[in-house]
């Protein structure tokens, strides 16, 4: 009983089913196979002569999953279409790729009950190979990961950028206040950096910034610590769960590491090599303060370090 509206009478329907690049099975209400197209033969290794009029579960050497059988029964008993997503049923049928590897095909399946003229119900099973779309989505996801990384990283130093820091800072601040933990901040500025750039040029300036960034990175041990390039020669470091003493000692370690680099800086007013000034501040449990004020306080600590002669760490309580 082929509808005239779809194709003229006498049309070779078998040819059409076999040309489809998707698996087509028709089963009757008892689960006996009425139609099995070439795609199914190719990917199951069972041809239609072997399976026609046999029960669907006889087509495969392994037992079909309960959820698949239940879905067919559901489609037939409710007379409503049923979908089996790839997410929840990776490989319901033992179907294999015809390409070299012969790996099992990930599938998405749609079951449509069809009412025949005599009133009996049959079930159309459409099997789609979803491996290409899964691969494509994985590729897109990898790309978006890459973009996300680009959007959060400072290209010169590889540290986080200011935008990423601001977002994380707000989150960490909220968590610290909720969980009553101490959050510490360090702000760092390269001393007389403008003079350095003027004398040695921008390329040397960039190298110095990279060297300072590497010092910072080498002194942060915990994955929760976060360092970001905040401006030209300015860096900010966030230390969750760190007391003022710990934060100051990390700042001091960074200061020493930079000094030890011995990068010549003849136009520095305080040393013969590159040095940094650092300001430290901590938000202790129970202290109610907003992100702007806390950051500003850390900046004031940095200002104090500069005022007191640079190449040093200053702590300023909130």
């Amino acid at each position: 009983m082929m509808p005239h509206s779809v194709a003229p009478q006498g049309y070779d329907w078998a040819q059409l089913f076999n040309a489809l690049n998707t698996g087509i099975i028709l089963v009757d209400s008892k689960g006996h196979v009425l139609l099995w197209n070439d795609w199914m033969s190719r990917h199951s290794g069972v041809n239609s002569e072997q399976i026609l009029n046999h029960h669907l579960s006889d087509a495969f050497s392994e037992t079909l999953p309960k959820s698949f059988i239940a879905a067919i029964n559901r489609a037939l008993s409710t007379r409503l279409p049923v979908v089996l997503s790839n997410a929840l049923h990776k490989f319901p049928l033992p179907l294999f790729s015809t390409a070299g590897s012969g790996e099992r095909i990930s599938q998405s399946i749609v079951l449509s009950p069809l009412k025949q003229a005599q009133g009996e119900l049959i079930c159309l099973i459409q099997v789609t190979d979803s491996s290409t779309s899964i691969k494509r989505e994985k590729m897109l996801r990898d790309h978006s990961e890459l973009h996300k990384k680009d959007a959060s990283t400072d290209p010169l130093t590889g540290l986080y950028n200011r935008r990423f820091f601001d977002a994380q800072y707000a989150i960490q601040m909220m968590q610290a206040q909720q969980q009553h933990t101490t959050l510490s901040l360090i702000m760092l500025d390269v001393d007389y950096f403008k003079n350095y750039n003027d004398h040695y040029g921008h390329i040397a300036g960039d190298s110095a910034i990279i060297a300072v960034a590497n010092c910072i990175r080498s002194k942060l041990q915990r994955s929760s610590d976060l360092a970001a390039r905040y401006g030209g020669e300015e860096f900010v470091i966030m230390l969750p769960n760190s007391t003022p003493a710990v934060a100051q000692s990390i700042a001091e370690n960074i200061r020493k590491a930079v000094t030890d680099l011995k990068i010549a800086h003849i136009n520095s007013m305080i040393a013969s090599h590159i040095t940094v000034s650092l300001g430290v501040s901590s938000c202790l449990p129970g202290v109610k303060v907003d992100t702007v004020t806390f950051l500003k306080n850390t900046d004031l600590a940095l200002y104090a370090a500069k005022q007191k002669g640079r190449n040093q760490v200053q702590y300023l309580p909130l």
Binding site: R79, P81, V82, L84, R141
Partner: protein
């Protein structure tokens, strides 16, 4: 009188809970975990009266699985979760080792399956009770802004009445609630009311 009475709604509520029970059984089989599903309340209104308060899903982004049912009467049926809940459900169903980023790519298809199970179970329970036959389109899933969603229902010309069912879904001890929405035209509603009346006279 062009509306459903409390008596009609009670009958529907009972039958939807039967459907919910069947859906829970199917879902339990898929996730190999006990899934609980119930329909604690049902509400009937004119579409024009729908607003965020009536819908009471206080989130801007909604995940919507939609199927069109037809037969003795026609109804646009939708299952609504906040997008956040939809992702949580998916995560629970697929096992927690999967990341939120990975989830997003499966969300569409898996939500279609979940919605399909729940919508089919409720509608077929209703069809069984009323002894009618219903057909359905395949499910589609969209994420939409709740204001836009509400506007699309208020602005829709064909459908005049809306039935809102609250549903509670519990997977892996996590409880989320969603909404089942049915939209009816006046004539479909009259047919439905008549069929419920016939059913009520029989019992």
């Amino acid at each position: 009188m062009d509306k459903l009475t409390d008596l009609h709604l009670d009958a529907l509520s009972e039958v939807f809970n039967i459907g919910a029970g069947r859906a829970a059984a199917s879902l339990s089989e898929i996730v190999a975990e006990e899934v609980k599903l119930s329909v604690p309340s049902i509400e009937f209104r004119k579409c024009a009266e729908l607003n965020a308060k009536v819908l009471s899903l206080d989130q801007s982004q909604l995940g919507v699985v939609k199927q069109k049912f037809s037969g003795a009467f026609t109804a646009d049926a939708s299952l609504l979760f906040t997008e956040e809940s939809a992702l949580e459900i998916m995560r629970d169903m697929m096992g927690s080792q999967i990341s939120i980023e990975e989830l997003a790519e499966f969300e569409q298809e898996a939500m279609c399956e979940l919605g399909n199970i729940i919508l089919n179970a409720c509608l077929s329970a209703m069809a069984d009770m009323l002894e009618i036959e219903l057909e359905s389109s395949l499910p589609s899933y969209t994420v939409s802004n709740s204001d836009d969603y509400i506007q699309s229902i208020i602005g829709g010309e064909d459908q005049t009445y809306i039935m809102i069912l609250h549903i509670d879904l519990e997977i892996e001890r996590r409880q989320v609630n969603g909404r089942l929405i049915f939209l009816f035209s006046s004539s479909s509603l009259s047919t439905l009311r008549l069929q419920i009346d016939t059913f009520l006279q029989k019992i």
